[in-house]
């Protein structure tokens, strides 16, 4: 890995004068250090109808540490959700994202909260990336009032409009035309921002995707379609569902880029490139080569259609958190112990939040009838026994 430090003596002396939180007096505090570091992505980008971006990615210690912490948090959160589901505190559907964290954090590093993100149902970590809190996640999963959708949405319906996260959608593929609609509105409003519409390799075959892509290309919409290719659409491997699993090429006249989705820096580079492209030239497709450790959902063991060796192989060779850990250690930005401490901290934060979430009450029965409309018009609605339960819609 090529490595270059840019060092200025003045900043170094300033650092030495600052009180150091670390126990090692000579270590530079990395939580605020933004001295640039250049890292080479290990897998080159493959491009379709465009020039690939450079494999040299600019980053800094602060960003790398943030990547580590955020991904560790997401990982811990998803594993905790697994336990909660098995304890029957989470019901219904629960689609976990562990293994794919690099896509969520890498994307956020390249964009602002004014850019829009929309995804399907594997949305817990994307929500956290957009600024959602752990409490909102766990409370929503358990159907409590403190949840981001006040307990009325569930795992597949997280939203955070104030940071332009538009969900959270249960119908495979529907989020892509919706995302192109967001891009339309951004262009209409002259906001100079873009939309990332995420979908899986299973959804990539949906017709409405191509309808939306056609319109986006026709109207030059700043839409970035991101295929999170974890190689399995539920239990069906990509080669059994797609005649051509080169999803980044599916746009035909729309350019595409294939990206190592387990490398947060590669993801960041690709998203930065895509944003610049989309603002000038309209839609582009990013295919993130990623992997989910869990099955499709909690009712899928994930091992009937893939071997345990394959799963452990990816964990060994390509785990996104391990990659960042190695990068941080090899650049001497933190010690192993410091990183382990972060992981312990994150684990505690998750455990404490779950305790807090469990205390949040379930919604009031009257919530059955709220938010049906934005403007209720004083109309009546009914419960199962309409002579027993009626309400006026607010």
């Amino acid at each position: 890995m090529a490595l270059s430090y840019l060092r200025s003596s003045s900043s170094r002396s300033v650092n030495l004068l600052k009180p150091l939180s670390s126990s090692l007096p000579l270590r530079r505090p990395i939580s605020t250090d933004t001295t640039p570091i250049t890292v080479e992505t290990s897998v080159p980008f493959t491009s379709h109808q465009c020039d690939a971006p450079s494999c040299s990615v600019e980053t800094n210690p602060k960003e790398l540490l943030t990547f580590f912490r955020d991904m560790a948090l997401m990982r811990r959160m998803e594993i905790a959700a697994d336990s909660l589901y098995k304890a029957k505190l989470i019901r219904g559907f629960c689609h976990l994202y562990d293994g794919q964290e690099a896509v969520a954090v890498g994307m956020e590093a390249a964009i602002t909260k004014k850019d829009c993100i929309i995804t399907a149902y594997r949305d817990h970590c994307t929500f956290i990336g957009r600024g959602g809190t752990l409490l909102e996640v766990f409370a929503e999963l358990m159907g409590r009032q403190a949840g981001c959708s006040k307990g009325k949405g569930g795992s597949m319906h997280f939203y955070k409009k104030d940071s332009n996260f538009y969900g959270g959608h249960g119908i495979v593929g529907a989020q892509v035309p919706l995302g192109c609609g967001l891009a339309f509105a951004q262009k209409y409003s002259k906001d100079e921002t873009v939309t990332f519409a995420l979908y899986g390799d299973g959804a990539a075959n949906q017709g409405q995707l191509f309808e939306a892509l056609n319109i986006s290309a026709l109207w030059d919409l700043p839409a970035i379609l991101v295929c999170e290719n974890n190689h399995y659409g539920m239990g069906t491997a990509e080669w059994r569902a797609a005649k051509s699993p080169a999803y980044y090429k599916r746009g035909d006249y729309v350019p595409g880029l294939k990206v190592d989705g387990m490398d947060a820096l590669a993801v960041k580079q690709a998203c930065k490139f895509a944003k610049e492209h989309a603002l000038k030239n309209g839609p582009i497709i990013l295919e993130m080569d990623t992997y989910r450790y869990h099955g499709h959902s909690m009712s899928d063991p994930g091992s009937t259609y893939r071997t345990r060796d394959e799963i452990s192989g990816v964990r060994q060779e390509r785990d996104p958190i391990e990659r960042i850990r190695k990068l941080i250690l090899s650049h001497d930005l933190a010690t192993e112990k410091e990183l382990k401490d972060i992981e312990k901290e994150v684990r505690k934060e998750v455990d404490d939040t779950i305790t807090q979430a469990k205390e949040s009450p379930m919604p009031e029965p009257s919530e059955l009838f709220t938010n049906v409309y934005a403007k209720g018009l004083g109309v009546e609605s009914f419960g199962a026994d309409r002579k027993e339960v009626r309400a006026t819609l607010p």
Partner: protein, 367 residues
């Protein structure tokens, strides 16, 4: 609005439907006439002018001036940014419309007919109708889906279905069915201004019909409330509910019934969801008899809901079973004679009203 009175227009050639004319302060025949087409066009024009977030999207809405000329002149006036011709991809452009509404724009998405809305129905129901609820109020969807609904003339089974019952069964949607030009203007303006997803069901055969419109209706601030039915004709003996084109049939039936001494009250529903149950029930409590009229298929139809509502709320007031007049329970045939008996006719409404008033010979036993 003053009470409604029929006026005989002597020696004038009448449009196909004789509209009921409201009493004007002076009896001058200078009441302005407006076609439903012009009413819709002017409503779109005024709302687009008032709010830059409103835009129109659909097949042929721009350069072609609208498949039925409803959007005539709008491309020229507002430009291609705000009047968007789409490819023939309903799922794609309906989804794009809903996404734009998520961001805060106010799309008016036209389906060339609502038969084609089935290609996009997942976006109407799952992406639009349910979002405000699932997000506990974060994602409101101020979109209007509009276009012709129901039977036209000789267009066959795939182009003739009425979707009122389907959409009106879904919580989170508002479903409107204008009849007259006043309805068209007032309800479309209300729909565009409303922050919730509205399904706006027009009727191709009504586009060319003229109705009188007052100055109030012509004013750009004119708006009708959503969820309120209109009593088109006050009566004492039997209530007839109808929507869209069937309102005209019901009014004609009422004229025929009057000659036989039956005074029918005709309710123009205007809004299928929310349904104006209180107006319907108040009317039935007065007349004690009810005929529901709709163009669509009978099973699980609008009339079935109205009947259930009346049985629940006003059972003691019913002096006769509720009668339903609806489209025949078959896919729409092409041959003109078959088509005629597949859709409710005025005589069907008259016959049903007489049955409800115990004025007809009992029907032969069903086969």
């Amino acid at each position: 609005m003053l009470g409604v009175v029929r006026q005989k227009m002597l020696g004038q050639s009448l449009p196909k439907i004789r509209p009921v004319v409201s009493v004007l302060r002076s009896y001058s025949s200078a009441a302005k006439q407006m076609t439903v087409r012009d009413a819709l066009n002017s409503a779109l024009d005024e709302e687009m002018s008032a709010d830059p977030k409103v835009f129109l999207m659909g097949e042929e809405v721009g350069e072609y001036q609208g498949a039925y000329k409803i959007s005539k002149g709008l491309l020229e006036k507002y430009g291609p940014e705000r009047v968007r011709d789409t490819p023939i991809t309903e799922a794609g452009f309906a989804g794009i419309g809903v996404g734009a509404a998520y961001y805060g724009l106010k799309p008016v998405v036209e389906f060339m007919t609502f038969n084609f809305s089935m290609q996009a129905i997942d976006h109407i129901i799952n992406s639009a109708a349910k979002s405000n609820y699932m997000s506990a109020g974060q994602m409101s969807v101020p979109i209007v889906f509009r276009g012709p609904n129901g039977a036209a003339a000789g267009v066959g089974a795939q182009h003739s279905q009425c979707y009122a019952a389907w959409y009106a069964s879904c919580p989170g949607l508002k479903v409107l069915t204008p009849y007259s030009s006043e309805d068209a203007r007032g309800l479309l303006k209300a729909a565009i201004r409303d922050p919730d997803p509205v399904v706006f069901l027009e009727n191709e055969l009504l586009y060319g019909e003229s109705f009188p419109v007052s100055d109030e209706v012509l004013d750009s601030s004119f708006c009708l409330p959503i969820g309120k039915a209109k009593i088109e004709r006050v009566g004492r003996d039997v209530t007839i509910t109808a929507f869209s084109r069937m309102v005209g049939h019901a009014l004609k039936a009422a004229e025929i019934l009057e000659k036989d001494g039956i005074d029918a009250e005709v309710i123009n529903l205007r809004s299928i969801r929310p349904l104006d149950r209180s107006t319907i029930n108040a009317s039935v409590r007065k007349t004690n008899r009810l005929i529901t009229v709709e163009e669509g298929f009978p099973q699980h139809g609008v009339g079935a809901e109205i009947c259930a509502s009346v049985v629940e709320e006003s059972f003691a007031y019913l002096d006769a079973p509720v009668e339903r007049i609806a489209g025949a329970d078959i896919p729409m045939p092409y041959a003109a004679n078959l088509e005629r008996i597949a859709v409710p006719q005025v005589e069907d409404i008259v016959r049903a009203a007489k049955r409800a008033c115990y004025r007809s010979v009992p029907l032969a036993a069903a086969a």
